[in-house]
């Protein structure tokens, strides 16, 4: 059972991320996305978002957060040391507490 907790209701993390980095219209990969908590907060901005994490249970939560996930958002099981992507495809790589 999930224990009730409120994380960053002030939105400080998203605010600082958006202030630091232009995400609108970009291709973004988030490494260590976990359950997609942060991913879904900014997901409407980029052209494409891929969240990766080695932990399948977290990825399942991330994928099921939205009843009808938008096509530009996806989650993949992978590790940061071996990214399953070709060279030079992303504008932003976000490591969220993941290395």
């Amino acid at each position: 059972m999930d224990i009730p907790v409120l994380r960053d209701p002030e939105g400080a993390e998203l605010e600082h991320l958006i202030a630091a980095c232009q995400l609108t219209g970009k291709e973004v990969v988030e490494i260590g996305c976990g359950n997609g908590r942060l991913t879904w907060q900014y997901a409407k901005l980029p052209q494409r978002v891929i969240g990766i994490d080695p932990n399948l249970s977290g990825l399942h939560k991330a994928s099921s957060t939205s009843a009808e996930p938008p096509q530009h958002v996806s989650f993949i099981q992978a590790i940061g040391e071996l990214l399953p992507f070709p060279t030079r495809v992303f504008n932003v790589v976000l490591f969220s507490s993941s290395f």
């Binding site: 907790v5 209701p9 993390e13 630091a20 030079r88 992303f90 790589v93």
Partner: protein
Amino acid sequence: MVHALQEAWRVLVPRGIFIDLRPICINAPLEIVTSTGCAFAGFVDQSPNIPDDIAADNAIQVILRDNLFKEMQVDYFDFAYYWNTVTEMKAFMDDNWKDDIILPDGVLQQVHLLFDQNRDQGRVRLRIRKRLAKFEKQ
């Protein structure tokens, strides 16, 4: 860790941005928050994660030294967790951060005491300091 950063460099377009967003392993204030203010209960010790923090910093230094990235910006902010009760806070910490933090007995007693004094309107808050660093691919 350096391998992950080298992979980040590989998949980024020229001048692409790498963001390193993570908590800093410094003592985090635990407080009881009410509508009229907050009362400090003590610090949560995050030192168990200091070795990982140092390793991550060292990996960053390697990729900067190798001119893979250039540091553009560093920013700090508080990331707050709120619980409705001390019991929920303790259960959450035991479930999620068992190996990552130390909650001293005296701090737990103090947060219980302060919470009981404000039971009708108090919430428990832990403020974790986070660091956001921005790097540009070279």
